[in-house]
């Protein structure tokens, strides 16, 4: 997992969710994506799942708990993408 992938994911989050006024530097790598951190909601989670599928060929696990852990922070997400990407 590389710093480039972390920045790429931050860009993907901003692009996909069309977060205006949010810069790559505003997203903390270890902060939670949902609720108290970046404040994403359940629809954002669905959109992000679709974007990860399109960009990296990822298919989220049917186990909700695993998905919850992968979406815990940008760092968790980057680990997951690095390990499971098919493109």
């Amino acid at each position: 997992m590389t710093p480039e992938l972390i920045d790429e994911l931050k860009t993907l989050i901003i692009e996909t969710l069309n977060l205006e006024d949010v810069a790559v530097a505003d997203i903390e790598t270890d902060a939670p994506l949902f609720n108290d951190g970046l404040g994403l909601d359940s629809i954002d989670a669905l959109e992000l799942g679709v974007a990860l599928h399109k960009r990296y060929g990822l298919t989220l696990s049917p186990e909700a708990e695993e998905t919850r852990q992968h979406f815990a922070s940008v760092r968790h997400l980057a680990d997951y993408v690095a390990a499971s990407r098919s493109r």
Binding site: A25, D26, D41, I43, P62, A64
Partner: protein, 570 residues
């Protein structure tokens, strides 16, 4: 005579038959009956005519609900377990939530009694079995709405008659919608409970979760919010056989329905229109089917073009007025929107007045107006005028962190989907010449600022190249100038800065602009490329706009930490 408060399978199903699945493990009717008895005793000890029921687990919710009815008690259905909801509902809370007086019934479990006792224990003095739902009224304050248990059970039986007669007896019900809302309650719970179909206790939040279902036949209770995303997952697979899929809450587009039909193995996809008060009103088979009224339902329009209806599922025979606008033409009924200040966000009713009241309760906010906006998704946007304290806080935090801080302050009283996602801080709200504040004027504030559809054509860690047709960003030319539309330099710089912060890990805020040159004007017919080059050692971004005619404009933007940066909050 059969007790009308007991779904028939609770009396007739074999003890070992599966009533629910929790984490794929069956819960038998014998266990269900024993838990009902324990829950009845636990609820009797509370000795309250009304309880607040909130439990994310559908099985636990069902046990509490039926036990409460058998005791003659009324269950107030909390939509969420936010602190503000707790404050609004002071009655004792039951089920798994931080506010619960009774998180489970284990203290009253007793193996010594026969399971039939769950139904023979007499009801205490209470005699109002049913639920109270809270709908987002136009005033912003939630409106209390009582529905008798017998009516909900009748609704379950009606759904079975209308949609269930051909389902195999081992059909499982699975849902992506919560069971306590007024679509989930009849479809995910009452129907299978009354007809004896096993129910999957967890709410599935991602479409991918459907991949862990068994090969059994299934009925899926879902919403356009989930189906829209499922339609885009081209590798989706599930061992389940989907026989029927139900969608409600907001319009299900025919193209989404067609893609979902392919992904799910050609089930019958049925879109439902209904309401908390009137239950299921009409349905259509998607894609392309026309709306059909439920048996016994009569529809008409009032003078404002809003739908009104009579239904056997209403407590009386009078006309029930909705706030939904509709037309009735050669193709039948078509829903066209709403007339009140209740917005639909991905299928959920959201009262704009309630969000504004929560905003105005903050000392940082002097005036506030919210509106729904539908672009890539439905969302709430907020235009606010800050108080002196609010302006100081905005100065201190910068816009991005202040936006987030406001969302956090609201999150104890506003559910996540209704939290504003975009903010404008204004010196005055945009009242028109008539003194009116229109939703269009609020939406306008957000559209003007939208980034045009730049497509990335090449990309590396140091350089990104975008292409755009300026014709697609025509709003950027508004008022500049009516006879000779040209793209203002300030807009060109704004786009470049915002994209730079989106694509490169620049540090701090924009601080300085140098070597700025505007060489050729940009017109609406131009097709441009924008090149951004990142110089991390200087924390600078170089931008240039070019077309077939050559370079149009270029410059160097540098960024610095807030201590030395100029204030860029808008």
């Amino acid at each position: 005579m059969a007790n009308p408060l007991i779904p028939p399978p609770l009396l007739s199903a074999p003890a070992e038959a599966a009533a629910f699945y929790r984490n794929a493990i069956p819960v038998s009717y014998a266990a269900f009956r024993a838990d009902l008895l324990a829950a009845r005793r636990a609820l009797m000890r509370l000795n309250a005519p009304e309880i607040v029921l909130f439990d994310p687990d559908t099985y636990a919710f069902a046990v509490w609900l039926i036990a409460c009815w058998l005791n003659g008690q009324t269950a107030l259905l909390a939509a969420d377990d936010l602190p503000a909801t707790r404050a609004f509902l002071p009655q004792p809370w039951v089920g798994r939530s931080p506010h619960s007086a009774l998180p489970d019934w284990s203290g009253c479990a007793d193996g010594t009694l026969a399971e039939a006792d769950a139904f023979s224990v007499p009801a205490p003095q209470f005699d109002r079995p049913g639920i109270v739902a809270f709908t987002s009224g136009s005033s912003g304050a939630p409106t209390r709405f009582f529905k008798a248990a017998a009516l909900l059970l009748r609704e379950g039986a009606t759904l079975q008659e209308g949609f269930g007669s051909h389902l195999p007896s081992d059909t499982c019900f699975v849902g992506t919608v919560p069971h306590q809302h007024m679509f989930g309650l009849p479809f995910r719970l009452m129907w299978p409970l009354c007809a004896g179909f096993p129910i999957i206790s967890e709410q599935f939040r991602y479409p991918e979760e459907l991949g862990r279902l068994s090969a059994d036949p299934h009925v899926l209770i879902s919403s356009p919010a989930t189906l829209k995303r499922l339609a885009q997952l081209d590798t989706f697979s599930s061992p389940a056989t989907f026989i029927e899929v139900f969608s409600a809450g907001s319009p299900l587009h025919d193209s989404v329905a067609a893609d979902c039909a392919i992904r799910l193995g050609e089930p019958r996809i049925i879109e439902i229109y209904g309401s908390t008060e009137a239950g299921n009103v009409m349905h259509r088979v998607a894609p392309n089917g026309a709306w059909r009224e439920q048996p016994g339902v009569a529809l008409a329009l009032d003078e404002q073009g809003c739908l009104k209806l009579r239904s056997p599922l209403l407590p009386d025979d009078g006309w029930f007025q909705t706030q939904d606008t509709a037309v009735n033409d050669a193709n039948g009924w078509r829903l066209t929107g709403r007339i009140d200040r209740v917005a639909k966000i991905e299928g959920r009713r959201v009262a704009l007045d309630a969000i504004e009241a929560a905003l105005l309760a903050l000392p940082e906010i002097a005036e506030a107006r919210t509106a729904p906006l539908s672009r890539e998704r439905d969302e709430i946007v907020a235009a606010v005028v800050l108080s002196e304290a609010g302006r100081e806080q905005l100065q201190a935090l910068g816009k991005t962190r202040f936006d987030r801080w406001l969302r956090q302050r609201l999150s104890t009283s506003v559910e996540p989907l209704a939290l504003p996602r975009r903010w404008r801080y204004l010196s005055a709200l945009p009242y028109n010449a008539m003194g009116k504040l229109t939703a269009a004027a609020i939406v306008e504030l957000f559209e003007r600022h939208a980034l045009p559809p730049f497509a990335v054509t090449s990309r590396s860690a140091r350089e990104v190249v975008f292409a755009a047709r300026l014709r697609d960003c025509i709003r950027a030319f508004d008022g500049h100038f009516p006879q000779l539309p040209i793209l203002a330099g300030v807009i060109q710089v704004d786009w470049a800065l915002r994209l730079a912060q989106r694509y490169f890990p620049v540090e701090g805020h924009f601080s300085d602009l140098r070597q700025l040159r505007f060489q050729r004007i940009l017109r609406p017919d131009d097709e441009v490329t924008l090149t951004l080059r990142f110089l991390p050692e200087k924390n600078e971004v170089r931008f240039s706009y070019a077309s077939a005619q050559g370079i149009h404009s270029q410059g160097n933007a540098s960024f610095a930490h807030p201590a030395v940066a100029s204030d860029t909050a808008s």
